[in-house]
């Protein structure tokens, strides 16, 4: 029971005294994702009970926006830029290399829970195309070899 109270603790501040003000739904979900890493189902149910916003409405919004995730992320999130500039500079080959090297598909997490691989639209550094971002760190002017080397460094760091 006490664990439950701790588990839902972040909601106290995030929801506050919001009673059904749906215009705050997206900011609330963003904060929940910030503190839990994703949107766990039990937290959504708890949020629904506290605010009176229906679970179906919350899920409707959560599943509409690509920014929300309903499953946990790996320790490292590898974001491959799929923007136009990166595309014309061979982003597809880079995506392939990453999936090969980590042995996962796009939008999936490796079995050991270390890496999640996903694509994003333009990271805003098109002059460095092709580009990927790992936990906020940007790597540009990628080649197959450079990509592999970077990933191996992360793997080594984790002793994997």
């Amino acid at each position: 029971m006490s664990k439950q109270i701790d588990y839902f603790k972040p909601l106290d501040e995030i929801i506050g005294d919001n009673k059904g003000d749906a215009s705050q739904l997206i900011p609330m979900l963003q904060k929940i994702q910030e503190s839990y890493g994703y949107l766990p189902m039990d937290v959504i149910v708890e949020m629904s009970e506290r605010t009176g916003i229906k679970v179906t409405d919350i899920m409707g919004v959560a599943s509409f926006y690509a920014g929300f995730r309903l499953t946990p992320l790996g320790k490292y999130v590898v974001k491959i830029c799929a923007g136009t500039a990166c595309h014309v500079n061979g982003a597809e080959t880079i995506a392939e290399t990453i999936c090969e090297e980590l042995n996962v598909n796009l939008d999936e997490t490796t079995e050991d829970g270390l890496f999640t691989v996903e694509t994003v639209a333009c990271l805003g550094c098109c002059s460095l195309a092709p580009v990927m971002m790992i936990n906020g760190e940007v790597y540009g002017r990628l080649t197959r070899d450079k990509t592999k080397k970077i990933l191996r460094e992360y793997k080594e760091l984790e002793g994997a």
Binding site: H87, T93, L123
Partner: protein, 587 residues
């Protein structure tokens, strides 16, 4: 002497922070407290990031492509000994350098302070004129402000190009207790970064535009809807808003005028369609971001059913200038139909990619060749894509088209928001069309059938053409679908989604035909239609290709000719990339 490091997203991504830290510790070590170290936003020359500007008695010297090591050379030579380090120079007031052409055809109205000020210091911005437009606007009546903007000829920079003054006039005329002034900072075009750079480099220009807009239409609440993928822009915007409040530009009774204006930021959650104005308002209200039919237009019934006005970031960044210097001054730039300047994000296969601002009327060729320096690969440029998923491709034959709403639309492309992606001979135009359709199809909100289903069917046809499974009649089917989707979709996402397909069909039909009829990809890009082999004359048997092949399909003894097994080969191109003798041939 002052040393300034470019710390926009592009600069940081390229390693600007490390360069900044290095200079910081060098100044410490050498005890040079007399030298100021500062940071600024995007200087425009993204191709040469990280950039460091050294200001001395002789003026400005910008060094590029720096890292933790070579910055030491610049530091020793210029900062310590006062000798310009020519080797790393990318722009200078004293010396001529090869990149001078990058700036010579640009005019900086919107970007005048971007890369010149520390975006985190409001005093910096004010010294260069920020909020002077607001002061003048507050001395005029709202109707006079609207008339000034009308007279400037400014049209929306978010894509549709609607006259801004007229839009404000509608919103001013609407009667309501509460009106809203909204800023569209949802920049969703995948390959564009104009708005982000403005927000990061000079957030005050946008804030000033919002306050003036609010005053003009009679809105006391302003909301900036910002893309959540732009954390740095949001951070700087928040700081700038705080500082503007301290100075009395935001809040109650602004500068004693009696006008109140509150500004806040709403973050998007990753949906391209939320850039569409009615979808954006739904998203601010906390709903799924789905567009609705217009009319009623936002000026009549917008956010929370109240009259609202929506403008793009760059549109707003023009407002301070117009009010400060007057409509007549602004109209000196541009063409009959398109007044002022346009900011472009120049990217793709271009030598000098970056953020550029040019007066309307300059030709596409001048932007790409004179400013951008031509192709980065050395291979001929084939086309340029303008306006992202809603835009189109302009072939090199039409590069003399002037940049103007009307003339660009005639080509089938659009002025768009400003993404400009250059493609060379190695880029397959069918693949580009497929790329954009893939994007719009995924981002379609699903509300109307033509967009939801039509784009999916178009994507299927394009995919099969690139996979070598195209059949005669596919091109005609694509055209029919394209026109239906264009005509019947609910919002501009669907209405413009076929543009990349239609323009590539118009100018590069032969590439489609080659894929379908001859099963060939002229750009040698579509994997199903190419094959790799090793030239026995050029191959030295060095074994590098065999060792780098991910599927082990290359065989051969050391110092003997190697052979690719086409039945296993996945055509990843790795062997070609690693071969030092040019022996791998693609056909």
């Amino acid at each position: 002497m002052k040393v300034i490091v470019g710390l926009g997203s592009c600069g940081i991504a390229a390693g600007g922070m490390k360069v900044y830290d290095k200079i910081y510790s060098l100044l410490e070590n050498y005890g040079r407290q007399d030298i100021t170290l500062a940071s600024t936003g995007c200087m425009g020359m993204c191709f040469a990031e990280p950039l460091v500007e050294v200001l001395d008695e002789q003026g400005s010297h910008i060094y590029g492509l720096l890292d933790e090591e070579n910055v030491l050379d610049v530091f020793r030579s210029h900062v310590l000994d006062g000798e310009v380090a020519d080797q790393y120079l990318v722009k200078s007031e004293r010396n001529d350098c090869t990149n001078a052409a990058f700036f010579s055809k640009q005019v900086r109205v919107v970007l005048s302070r971007c890369g010149a000020i520390n975006p985190e210091e409001i005093e910096d911005a004010m010294e260069l004129g920020a909020y002077s437009g607001l002061v003048r606007a507050l001395s005029m009546t709202p109707q006079e402000v609207v008339e000034e903007v009308k007279a400037s000829g400014l049209r929306g920079r978010g894509g549709a190009g609607f006259p801004t003054g007229l839009k404000w006039d509608f919103a001013l005329a609407s009667q309501a207790d509460q009106k809203y002034m909204l800023c569209n900072a949802d920049e969703g075009d995948p390959g564009a970064f104009m708005d982000r750079s403005i927000l990061e480099g000079d957030p005050h220009s946008v804030i000033e535009g919002m306050i003036i807009g609010g005053y003009a239409i009679g809105a006391t609440i302003g909301i900036i809807y910002a893309r959540s993928e732009y954390p740095l822009a949001i951070e700087r915007l928040e700081l700038a808003m705080e500082q503007a409040k301290e100075k009395g530009f935001l809040g109650k009774n602004i500068l004693g005028s009696g006008f109140d204006f509150d500004l806040s930021i709403k973050q998007g959650a990753g949906a391209f369609v939320c850039g569409e104005e009615t979808a954006m308002m739904a998203s601010i209200e906390g709903q799924r971001g789905m567009p609705r039919i217009r009319p009623p237009y936002p000026a009549e019934r917008g956010l929370f059913n109240q009259p609202s006005n929506i403008n793009n970031v760059e549109t707003l960044a023009n407002i301070g200038y117009i009010l400060n210097f007057g409509a007549d001054d602004y109209r000196q730039y541009g063409t009959e139909e398109t007044k002022g300047t346009k900011v472009f994000a120049l990217a793709g296969k271009i030598k000098r990619g970056g953020l550029v601002e040019v007066p309307a009327g300059l030709t596409v060729r001048e932007v790409i060749e004179d400013i951008g320096g031509g192709s980065s690969s050395g291979k001929p440029i084939k086309a340029v894509q303008l306006g992202g998923p809603s835009g189109g491709c302009i072939p090199v034959e039409l590069f003399d088209t002037p940049i103007d709403y009307g003339t660009l639309a005639e080509t089938g492309a659009i002025m768009g928001s400003g993404g400009l992606v250059v493609m060379d001979e190695d880029n397959c135009m069918v693949d580009i069309a497929r790329y954009f359709l893939d994007f719009t199809q995924k981002e379609s909100c699903g509300k109307c059938t033509f967009c939801r289903v039509g784009t999916k069917r178009m994507l299927e046809i394009l995919t099969r053409i690139t996979e070598g499974k195209g059949v005669p009649g596919d091109i005609e089917k694509l055209e029919t679908l394209a026109h239906q989707v264009q005509k019947n979709s609910l919002c501009a996402l669907g209405q413009t989604a076929p543009n990349p397909v239609l323009t590539t069909l118009k100018y590069f039909r032969h590439e489609y035909e080659a894929h379908i009829n001859d099963k060939k990809c002229p750009a040698l890009q579509c994997r199903a239609l190419i094959s790799y082999r090793i030239d026995p004359v050029l191959c030295t048997g060095c074994t590098v290709c065999a060792r780098n092949c991910p599927v082990h399909c290359i065989s051969g003894e050391p110092r003997e000719t190697h052979v690719i097994d086409p039945s296993i080969c996945t055509r990843c191109g790795n062997c070609k990339a690693v071969c030092r003798f040019g022996a791998v041939i693609v056909e």
